[in-house]
């Protein structure tokens, strides 16, 4: 199950989606907007996406994970738009008969989502300034 949403994410529901009597182990990853980065305070994030491609990429990642690991269920929900500090930006749930598979697949999914799915966050700091987060780009250059 793949979803991009502008509404509040309920992580318990994302977990519930993958739970099954056939899966002894479920792992849920939840990414939350963090208040402090080094000594700077974040007020909110804003997520933008190339929605059509993001859905295609997330479906590919689910399919790849299901080929690499024996998974019973996979659910990925990513929030778009404004996300306040402490709110959930992404929830990923996987279930499996085997807990090692569930942990590995969950970690691989979040690591890979951060690398290839066309979603971007713009950070608004407590001093009112804001900037896009583009990993690997030196802001002095751009």
């Amino acid at each position: 199950m793949i979803e991009l949403t502008r509404g509040i994410i309920d992580p318990g529901q994302v977990l519930h989606f993958v739970q099954s009597p056939d899966a002894g182990a479920s792992v849920l990853f939840v990414g939350t907007t963090r208040r402090m980065t080094n000594a700077r305070e974040t007020v909110r994030l804003e997520y933008d996406a190339y929605g059509e491609m993001a859905r295609v990429k997330l479906q590919e990642l689910e399919a790849t994970a299901r080929q690499r690991w024996q998974l019973t269920g996979v659910a990925i929900v990513h929030r778009l738009g404004e996300v306040m500090v402490g709110e959930v930006s992404v929830a990923i749930a996987v279930s499996s008969p085997h807990r090692a598979a569930a942990f590995e697949a969950g970690q691989w999914l979040i690591d890979t989502i951060k690398q290839v799915v066309p979603i971007w966050k713009k950070e608004t700091w407590s001093d009112g300034s804001c900037e896009w987060v583009h990993p690997g780009v030196n802001r002095a250059d751009a």
Partner: protein
């Protein structure tokens, strides 16, 4: 051919438009598209080597040849999650 190119995140902001049109020779490659984009929109120059180009919602090689009906998008490194 004239291609429509969707821009996202800082690329969108740098250009001020979410879609731009770009004249390209038939059979132009992604590398040629990247070059032409930066020439027409100098505000993208600082991003040039970081810009990702997606064709029909897939990442492609720099040597990939573009077709008139392709859905083309251009954006900086992703930061979801």
């Amino acid at each position: 051919m004239i291609l429509s190119i969707r821009l996202f995140a800082a690329a969108h902001e740098a250009v001020g438009e979410d879609v731009v049109s770009l004249p390209l020779e038939d059979g132009a490659t992604v590398a040629q598209l990247r070059h032409a984009l930066v020439e027409q929109f100098p505000s993208l120059a600082a991003w040039e080597h970081h810009l990702l180009i997606a064709v029909n919602q897939q990442y492609v090689l720099e040597t990939h040849e573009l077709a008139p009906d392709d859905e083309v998008a251009c954006f900086p490194p992703v930061s979801g999650g």
